[in-house]
């Protein structure tokens, strides 16, 4: 018959001394997560802006980078962020959706066209793709004309490409951040 043995186990709390310390640790950790999410949100915004910029078919007209300019980080809560505000975009850059998904928005029956000019105002040459369109206000006149979009555009999918980038880099981002914190201690 096996001999019965008695052990004494002593558990010592070394780093956390009490509930107050645990609370402090949790607050510090949540601050790190909140800062990390904020940094990540800005990286996502930059990625989206870069994706739009690198997929442009025509150079910027005035004002430069209009859609990119209106894609901002919106703080929705302590740990919640949104990129781009639909309400703002619908007013400031209403073409954001068709630029992403591709398609064609026909002019309404009452619209003559979009007033402005391509390039320097000279009539576009045949096959001269890639000139910037400049919007003008006021009236029709020399060098200013009504442009009637007639072709569908291919979507550049900047939203999905950014989502893909985020999904791919999410773990890497947090791994790097946690490693940095670990080595900083």
């Amino acid at each position: 018959m096996a001999k019965r043995q008695t052990f004494t186990v002593t558990v010592k709390r070394t780093s956390i001394k009490g509930p107050e310390d645990l609370m402090l640790e949790m607050i510090t950790a949540s601050q790190h997560i909140s800062e990390g999410l904020n940094d990540m949100a800005h990286l996502v915004r930059d990625k989206m802006r870069q994706t739009i910029n690198s997929n442009k078919r025509r150079p910027d007209s005035s004002p430069k980078g209009w859609l990119e300019k209106h894609i901002e980080v919106n703080t929705l809560g302590l740990m919640s962020y949104g990129i781009g505000n639909k309400t703002i975009l619908n007013v400031s850059a209403p073409y954001w959706r068709v630029l992403n998904d591709g398609g064609y928005i026909p002019l309404s029956t009452t619209e003559k066209g979009v007033l402005g000019f391509f390039g320097d105002g000279a009539p576009p040459k045949k096959g001269g793709d890639g000139q910037a369109w400049t919007y003008t206000t006021g009236g029709y006149g020399p060098g200013i004309y009504y442009m009637k979009p007639s072709k569908a555009i291919k979507g550049i999918r900047y939203i999905e490409k950014t989502q893909h980038w985020l999904a791919f880099n999410w773990k890497l981002f947090w791994d790097n951040r946690l490693n940095r914190l670990k080595w900083a201690k």
């Binding site: 026909p106 569908a152 999904a167």
Partner: protein, 155 residues
């Protein structure tokens, strides 16, 4: 013998998988691989596009890459109901992944492709599954559109 590379292999594998499913259970669905073809083909159309690839080093001591790919399926349907049915059907079929083929042109022919199974296209994540609606003033081609965006990797 000219061989296709990874991205086109994925795109063609997706095409073959979806086309085979449609041939068995649907009629009259046009599946295309370019946006230009999607603009020309008669509706209903499903357009398969591999839009982007993300890469990083696979492991220490190796030059191999770990890559994921973004595939977008654009559905141009004849009605809202058809768009929704097609989207649900496709999503249900692709969620478990499908065969990854290596494609090559047979000698002297660039019209046809030979397929050799070489793994699986694994579906990772669905990023988007929603209708595209540009409002009341919409072109006929853009009516009843639906898009599915998902990421995959080859295993």
């Amino acid at each position: 013998m000219a061989q296709l590379r990874l991205k086109r292999n994925i795109q063609h594998s997706t095409y073959d998988f979806i086309t085979a499913k449609f041939d068995a259970q649907w009629t009259g669905i046009n599946v295309v691989l370019t946006w230009e073809d999607a603009m020309q083909a008669e509706k209903p159309v499903v357009c398969i596009l591999l839009e982007s690839t993300e890469s990083k080093g696979k492991e220490l001591g190796s030059n191999n890459l770990f890559e994921t790919h973004l595939i977008i399926l654009d559905i141009y349907a004849k009605s809202r109901g058809q768009a929704m049915d097609l989207a649900d059907y496709i999503k249900n079929e692709i969620k478990n992944g499908y065969v990854y083929n290596l494609y090559s042109h047979p000698p002297g022919s660039f019209e046809s492709l030979d397929a050799t199974p070489d793994g699986r296209v694994k579906t990772l994540k669905f990023l988007r599954d929603e209708s595209i609606d540009f409002g009341d003033n919409t072109d006929e081609r853009d009516k009843w559109r639906h898009t599915i965006a998902y990421t995959v990797r080859v295993t």
